[in-house]
Symmetry: C2
Subunit: 215 residues, 2 copies
Amino acid sequence: MAKAKPRIPLSPELIYQMALEQINQAGLEKFSMRSLATRLGVDPMAVYHHIPSKAALMEGIYDTIFGELLAEDQPMPDHWQDKLLELAHRFRALALRHHKLFPSLIASNHIGHNELKALDTLLGTLLEAGLDPTATVQVGDSVFALVTGFVILEISELQNTTPHTGTERLESENQTDFINTRTLLEPLTDNLFRNSFETGLQLIIDGIKVKLQKN
Amino acid sequence: MAKAKPRIPLSPELIYQMALEQINQAGLEKFSMRSLATRLGVDPMAVYHHIPSKAALMEGIYDTIFGELLAEDQPMPDHWQDKLLELAHRFRALALRHHKLFPSLIASNHIGHNELKALDTLLGTLLEAGLDPTATVQVGDSVFALVTGFVILEISELQNTTPHTGTERLESENQTDFINTRTLLEPLTDNLFRNSFETGLQLIIDGIKVKLQKN
DNA sequence: ACCTGAACACCGTTCAAGT
DNA sequence: ACCTGAACACCGTTCAAGT
């Protein structure tokens, strides 16, 4: 439990890193400016000399993890479809890696530098595909919405430790209700959202192709 | 500022209603068990005799607002495409009506009775369209993810009072960066997400049609 | 320049007590 | 049965003081 005192003096980057570690280990609920200071081996208020508020700290953390998205070793593929899939998969991997933080990131309304960079890459990819400017923005929003929605869904299940749309939840309901949900869910077992994610991406890609043919 | 004392004694339903009113007026940040009690004209701890914890209170509120989804006067249309669009539009309207609450609702991992009911209706609609069971679940997840992601995006913008993906945000960045985002966003002005939402839904509907033709 | 420590105005929740 | 009020163990943040 004892933490080594930091040889290096405090810096925003170090603080973001330590905060991230703590959230990954103990969860968001246990995370506070005070508990972070304890982990840093420092007075509760020392952090305020580097970061003005808890809100600013959170935004810094969000931007830090978004930095992982485009800083990966693998190069981006050439074709727009592959590029789109690659971006989506990286986003999903990022979200699952930081699943304790992600819901609050999504709920936050601040868009950081690195998130903007990722969005720009997405828009560029759709332009390459041949969409006109208006369509690019609208499809870009759709892709972003789909991917964001999926990771939220998936993380929500992850925390529940119940498979898919709440099978346990379902059992507490009247046996004759939710007939569709019941009959459809039972045959399926694992990797449900992974498969749905791929299906959803393909759905949008097919939709884009329909859109491209119309022009 | 003075609140009338409740003639009716406390009940979970009354508490949910008052909590919802307070959140709509003052926002989630100002909302607390203590401020709620003040509004109810009651001791801070009185609420605990009806609802065991703040977490349970929030879940109750979430379920209350989901109840609005299927309790509307208009009947559901017949054709699966119209039904899907109707459900999506109702969900969006619900989310915007309760935009101060919705991000935390999305982040919450509990699925309530009324939310499950809405999901069941969605799955039934896709079955009617002619999808097989596996496809129904996967497409259902996709629709849910898309719609959820969109309202999150839209609410996030709403709170920013900056149009779309952060135009103000963009101005604080280096002028030569984010070239795609810059050139695409400038010609567009209002109702951006509304249009993107319709485009996204059409994208998925077209994708579903492609899927149906494959069988 | 950087960190400390007391203090302020809050939280959610427990528990014994009142009616 | 239903509500109260003091108390506990926390929060984020301000500010004057230390080195």
